[in-house]
Symmetry: C2
Subunit: 98 residues, 2 copies
């Protein structure tokens, strides 16, 4: 029930590379223990803005995500594409009950 919205702003002309790196991270993250959602969303009015919607059973599961190889690869791959620091919004998942 540990949910994080990650607000991302990328530099122009990075969209295809960002989405490819993020697709790979998404596909590995949904296989993690404790992961319930790892959705990738875009702003239809601004091609440089994205949101990751991540639901983990516990805060520890979310911490473990940041120790995985696929997260580290994603983080390092997209680092030069970032237009600003990522902003995290932490929420508590109530429904569904898993």
């Amino acid at each position: 029930m540990h949910v994080t919205l990650v607000h991302i702003s990328i530099k122009p002309d990075c969209r295809a590379e960002f989405l490819e790196a993020t697709r790979i991270n998404h596909e590995a993250s949904v296989e993690e223990s404790g992961n319930r959602r790892f959705d990738v969303l875009s702003d239809p009015e601004d091609a440089t803005r994205f949101v990751l919607y991540e639901w983990y059973d516990t805060p520890d599961d979310a911490v473990s995500h940041k120790k995985t190889g696929h997260f580290e690869t994603w983080r390092d791959t997209v680092a030069p594409m970032m237009a600003a620091d990522r902003e995290l919004e932490v929420l508590r998942g109530i429904y569904p009950i898993w």
Copy 2:
């Protein structure tokens, strides 16, 4: 791939009634055609703030949601509990691909 984040602010002392009405709406909404997510989230630092995370296959599916009996019942039940107008943020779902 039509995603909406609904930001909700309720009056104090409405939390239990709001959550019960929203649970019923959640359980019916996830059975709708085209629905992929209807998650209910709360702000851990402010008991009066909630977010609904709704993913529908198409914008028409989201429009149809607002014509259902369970949505209308929820809307009318929670109307007196609202501390402010609900704020909608529309996004496009990219991953997962359904």
